[in-house]
């Protein structure tokens, strides 16, 4: 990504450099050539419509090239590849909490392997933050109450700065960290130490502890919709709309179940606002993703280890 941004940046430097040079040369030349001299009067010129049209059209066309190029780069920056490794990010005043899909947790440090696409699914516990890695030329605000995503692919091992770029209070400038990019072998070694098991397994536990299983059963008899095979698919709502079951939708269903109720179900689910932490919501989402490949009504007992290879979006990295 850095290479795409830098290429456009260099193009812009050249274009604006030429424009600046043109204007400055004209300014300096006119200022010197037409400085006041005794006996020489200024020559009055009304203006010139052809000239006005020329110097409106040419910059406009150049601007459109910059716009289009900028938009192309932006869409690349904003569209994570489907098979990215997923990392959940929870921001709070004033630290970054990161959790790998495999269960490793980190604070203010993110270890990633070189050459793999990494997708960050981010939310904030309090105010707006912004996840900024200057070396990768990416930045995305992290908001409370919803998920935003950004992605990158590191191409060189090393340690890179991570900054919070949206002012967030007293220790805003202390909300910094490191992105540690490792060779795949080293990364494997790092991964194998200190994991508490996959995030989806944690999610399955939370799913049971909170009693979700009593309604969201894996057969058709539940009072709530069966959640197998739901993630990433369109969902028919009671009010006639259709939404895609993405991270933001699942999150909203947990925290504000009445907002987008699934067609054919009663509004009986209580809100879990205040009862679950951001990390637990992330784990639940990871779990619901992990059962996305299962067919509804199959009734098969799913466990993370079984499901992992079958995930539709390939969030598992092994």
């Amino acid at each position: 990504m850095a290479a795409h941004v830098d290429a456009l940046y260099i193009f812009l430097l050249i274009v604006t450099g030429m424009m600046t040079l043109l204007i400055f040369i004209c300014l300096v030349y006119f200022a010197a050539r037409f400085r006041s001299r005794p006996g020489v009067r200024a020559e009055q010129i009304e203006g010139s419509t052809p000239l006005e049209v020329t110097w409106s059209t040419i910059p406009f066309l150049v601007f459109m090239v910059i716009f289009a190029w900028g938009a192309v780069v932006y869409f690349k920056e904003r569209t994570p590849p489907d098979d990215s490794t997923e990392v959940y990010v929870v921001a709070k005043q004033w630290m970054w909490k990161l959790e790998h899909a495999e269960g490793q947790r980190e604070i203010n440090e993110l270890h990633v392997p070189v050459g793999r696409d990494v997708k960050l699914i981010m939310t904030s516990q309090d105010v707006i933050h912004s996840f900024f890695i200057p070396a990768f030329r990416i930045k995305q605000d992290v908001l409370p109450g919803r998920y935003t995503v950004e992605w990158f692919r590191a191409t060189k091992p090393g340690t890179y700065h991570l900054f919070c770029a949206e002012y967030c209070g007293t220790q805003h400038s202390g909300m910094v960290g490191d992105i540690v990019v490792m060779e795949p072998a080293q990364y494997e070694a790092w991964m194998n130490g200190g994991s508490t098991g996959p995030l989806s397994a944690t999610g399955e536990k939370v799913f049971a502890e909170l009693g979700c299983v009593t309604c969201h059963r894996t057969d058709t008899q539940g009072r709530g919709p069966n959640l197998q095979g739901v993630f990433g698919k369109p969902v028919q709502l009671e009010d006639g709309r259709t939404v895609t079951a993405d991270e933001n939708y699942v999150r909203e269903c947990i925290l504000d179940p009445g907002a987008k109720r699934v067609k054919g179900f009663q509004p009986i689910m209580p809100t879990f606002q205040g009862l679950v932490s951001e990390e637990q919501v992330n784990a639940l989402i990871a779990y619901i993703k992990s059962i996305a490949a299962a067919k509804p009504g199959e009734g098969a007992k799913t466990s993370a280890s079984v499901v992992a290879p079958a995930q539709s979006n390939g969030s598992q990295v092994q």
Binding site: L27, I45, G70, V73
Partner: protein
């Protein structure tokens, strides 16, 4: 040359009340001049402390909270209490009636009211600063400002709310004055471009400022009553705040820069002794900026979590607003062609404006490019960019205008040598301060960082920037000193020291209370330098 005893707006009445209860637009302009200068130096003092703190990577001069308050108060004071009123309320107030041949603004009492509102807002702001201040950044983003910080948000918000009405009333007054009070013969196409710029500015003030007022009230309500407008925990949307905030605060940039463009247009015409190249294009580009300026606000939010398609539209529109600005720069440059250029201090400021505004404008192209914006937004690149526009552009224009019209305002000449020196110092100091910040920004230094000990590689450029800031500070102090000096010791100014076109030069310096002894009748086009410089003096049109 005016007789020292001649009655004018300055010596007609004496005493504090003759000033505090005046309805004379020229005296109100001076009241504004004193008040905004006061706030300028307060804001400047904060800036100096910020720069000193950033001299070293560690946070060692002030506490983190103090630093956060410093940049917040710097922004709020400079934006709402200096830049927005600067040119319109001082030079505009003084010159708009005179340039169109009117005795005063349409609503002299409302004009005085607007100054009082400004002062009430200003006192509230000072009180807020002295009792603890605010630490949210001048943008007070929700939910930090509405639900998290413990500082004096409501007080600062109300101060800005009150000052906002001062701005609305000034805009209203200008619009009505320009429509209704032009002298006979002063048609729209004969208006000085300074007036066109102020007309466009006034429209933004009238239509935009109420939106920030509403936003501020919502922030206050959210804080006091927890309504859940912006707080996601209560079903609110923090992005809504950003949309509302920038809907005003982006056009507000044009409130600052359009009047400066008007000033520079007058100066360039006068000191190259020429009609402005492409008068109607320059006039209508001001209106185009005012209109398009309202449609680009979300380019401050490309990484805020907005839809990519919305970002696309706002990026496109941002390039559209760049075109009229480019047209202006080309026309100013073309005006110099075949002119007879004089290098008096106002012209040096105008040259400075052209250079800095060009750089500021062109770096705007980087920020409007979506792919690059993601990297440089919220870094020092943005800080450098908007200072090039708002300080390099607007303040250079303001200082140029102050020098150009000072003989008219005060009736005295300032020392030309010192003025040229100050212009040079400001230009050098400005570039030394802010150019390194472009580099810092692309290297990735985020703005509003109190402590950068995690990335000490940024120190060299920060040291340069701080060094530049001290030079810039000297450059800003000098004009204040010699303007004050000239009021007592300066040579009396002739009525038209620059032999400039424009009705304001056809009345004595300083002007009488009602500006003109007889209502002028205009029979010539704006910028009639051909006639002014004609060998035979009989051809010069006279108003009296």
């Amino acid at each position: 040359m005016p007789q020292p005893e001649r009655e004018n707006y300055l010596n007609k009445h004496y005493g504090v009340w003759s000033w505090l209860l005046t309805t004379d637009h020229k005296r109100i302009a001076l009241l504004y001049l004193i008040s905004i200068t006061f706030f300028f130096f307060i804001g400047g003092f904060f800036a100096l402390l910020i720069r000193l703190e950033l001299l070293t990577p560690a946070g060692d001069l002030v506490q983190a909270d103090t630093y956060n308050k410093l940049f917040t108060m710097h922004g709020m004071v400079m934006v709402f209490f200096f830049l927005i009123p600067s040119i319109p309320a001082v030079l505009g107030n003084f010159l708009v009636p005179m340039m169109i041949g009117a005795k005063d603004l349409a609503f002299p009492r409302i004009n005085l009211l607007s100054w009082y509102l400004y002062i009430i807002g200003g006192v509230m702001m000072l009180h807020c600063m002295l009792t603890g201040g605010v630490d949210t950044g001048w943008t007070f983003y929700a939910p930090f400002a509405t639900n998290f910080t413990n500082t004096k948000i409501v007080e600062a918000a109300l101060a800005i709310f009150v000052a906002g009405f001062s701005s609305i009333l000034t805009g209203l007054n200008f619009v009505v004055t320009i429509h209704r009070m032009r002298a006979p013969g002063m048609t729209w196409s004969r208006l000085p471009l300074f007036i066109w710029a102020h007309y466009a500015t006034s429209i933004i003030q009238l239509l935009g400022t109420p939106v920030i007022a509403v936003t501020i009230v919502l922030v206050a309500c959210e804080r006091a009553l927890h309504l859940g407008i912006f707080d996601p925990k209560l079903g609110g949307d923090p992005l809504l705040f950003q949309h509302l905030f920038w809907f005003y605060s982006h056009p507000a940039v044009y409130i600052m820069i359009l009047p400066a463009m008007g000033v520079v247009t007058e100066i360039i015409a006068c000191f190259s002794r020429k009609r402005i190249f492409g008068y109607s294009f320059v006039a209508f580009s001001s209106i185009a900026i005012a209109v398009f300026g309202f449609l680009v606000w979300a380019h401050h939010m490309f990484v805020a979590g907005m839809s990519v398609y919305a970002a696309l539209v706002f990026s496109l529109l941002s390039y559209a607003v760049a075109v009229p600005s480019a047209i202006k720069v080309f026309n100013w440059t073309a005006t110099l062609y075949k002119g007879s250029i004089h290098y008096d201090a106002p012209m040096l400021y105008a040259f400075g404006f052209l250079g800095l505004f060009t750089i500021g404008g062109l770096t705007g192209l980087f920020l409007a490019a979506l792919g690059i914006n993601v990297h440089v937004t919220d870094t020092y690149f943005v800080v450098a960019h908007f200072h090039y526009i708002m300080v390099g552009g607007a303040v250079m224009g303001y200082l140029g205008g102050m020098h150009f019209w000072w003989p008219k305002i005060s009736g005295k000449l300032y020392p030309e040598g010192w003025a040229r020196l100050a212009a040079l110092i400001v230009f050098i100091g400005f570039n030394l301060t802010f150019f390194p910040q472009f580099l810092l920004g692309y290297m990735g230094m985020p703005r509003r960082y109190y402590d950068y000990s995690h990335m000490p590689e940024f120190q060299i450029l920060n040291v340069l920037s701080t060094a530049g800031a001290t030079v810039l500070g000297v450059g800003y102090l000098l004009p204040m000193i010699y303007f004050l000096w000239s009021m007592r010791y300066g040579k009396p100014a002739p009525d038209n020291p620059w032999n400039a076109a424009g009705l304001e030069w056809k009345t004595p310096s300083p002007p009488p209370t009602f500006n003109f002894d007889e209502e002028p009748v205009v029979t010539w086009e704006a910028y009639n330098y051909e006639q002014l410089d004609a060998p035979s003096k009989e051809e010069v049109p006279v108003a009296r």
